[in-house]
Symmetry: C2
Subunit: 159 residues, 2 copies
DNA sequence: AACGGCGTTAAGTTGATACTGAACGAATTA
DNA sequence: TAATTCGTTCAGTATCAACTTAACGCCGTT
């Protein structure tokens, strides 16, 4: 592997690590992002020089988050992983979901907590409104983007 | 402090922790979110039953991220902290900035790395376009939201 | 100048978790 | 059935960072 690619993979490792994921997960993602074909677990482990166990657990973790997808090959019982075509939508949806969990905790405070202060109540209400608005906008934009992408793909004849 | 509030604070602690921040930072945020007035460092330390040092460092961390703001009081040299009125915009902008750093790393790969595969190049290009589009939409919506908020505030006579 | 309150900084401890190596289980082949 | 080749899981370690305690520095007051 060339120097620049190795550096990019390391950057992705640090980037995803700052996002709360294991560094190896980021490296796997980085490598697959610039790989033409899907890679097997052993392939990933060899290329990244890490243990097979780490690759196994982290690949599954990324798959669960929609960052990777598992594919099979005929007459091959190995697990292959690659970045999905809808990577962007997946991660975006994931972010929205996490964001919503946080939002629900905040807004539930308005009703569940014994708050008497009007200022605090108004603060929580405004925060809830802001979230609801932005969330709706993002969801709509994402849906429109997906629709336009699908349209392009069909025109271009992509399966 | 009542049971429900304590639980809410703990929830915020875990929520921000899953976002890469120290748990105490989340607790400080949770407490101030449901506090009517700004609180001093000692006040926060006593209420949360943590060391003054932790409160000091974490409060400054949150201030740097736009989650908290520091305020002063006449004839009082203590530091008081509170959640800013534009909390939502601040955190949103922060998220966008972090997202952009990640995005730049990905798109720079398209030009800096010796990639020969057309599939990979197209993948990176599509990802870049998707990011640019969504980023623009979010930025616009946020600006419009801020404008409408400011409008409401002036109508309501808020300083 | 000495004292006390306040915030920050530094060293040390502790807790969490990423990662490895090895054992295990399942599926395939000989 | 024995032997391989996969993937997963488990126990152990090692690293990292949050948190605490203690010391420091600064600013006001007496």
């Amino acid at each position: 592997m060339d120097r620049a690619t190795a550096h990019f993979i390391e950057t992705m490792g640090l980037a995803l690590e700052s996002d709360g994921l294991p560094r190896i997960a980021g490296r796997i993602f980085g490598l697959l992002l610039v790989s033409e074909e899907a890679r097997s677990l052993d392939d990933l482990a060899a290329e990244l020089q890490v243990s097979k166990a780490s690759v196994s657990t982290n690949a599954r973790l990324l798959e669960q988050r929609g960052v990777l997808e598992q594919v099979g090959r005929p007459a091959d019982r190995r697990d292959y992983y690659q970045v999905p075509r809808d990577l962007f939508s997946n991660t975006m949806a994931q972010r929205l979901a996490r964001w919503q969990r946080f939002h629900e905790a905040v807004t539930s405070a308005r009703t569940n907590l014994p708050i008497q202060s009007p200022e605090v109540l108004q603060r929580l209400e405004e925060y809830g409104e802001a979230y609801a608005h932005m969330s709706r906008v993002i969801r709509d934009a994402l849906a429109r983007w997906q629709a336009s992408r699908k349209n392009k793909m069909s025109k271009a004849g992509v399966s």
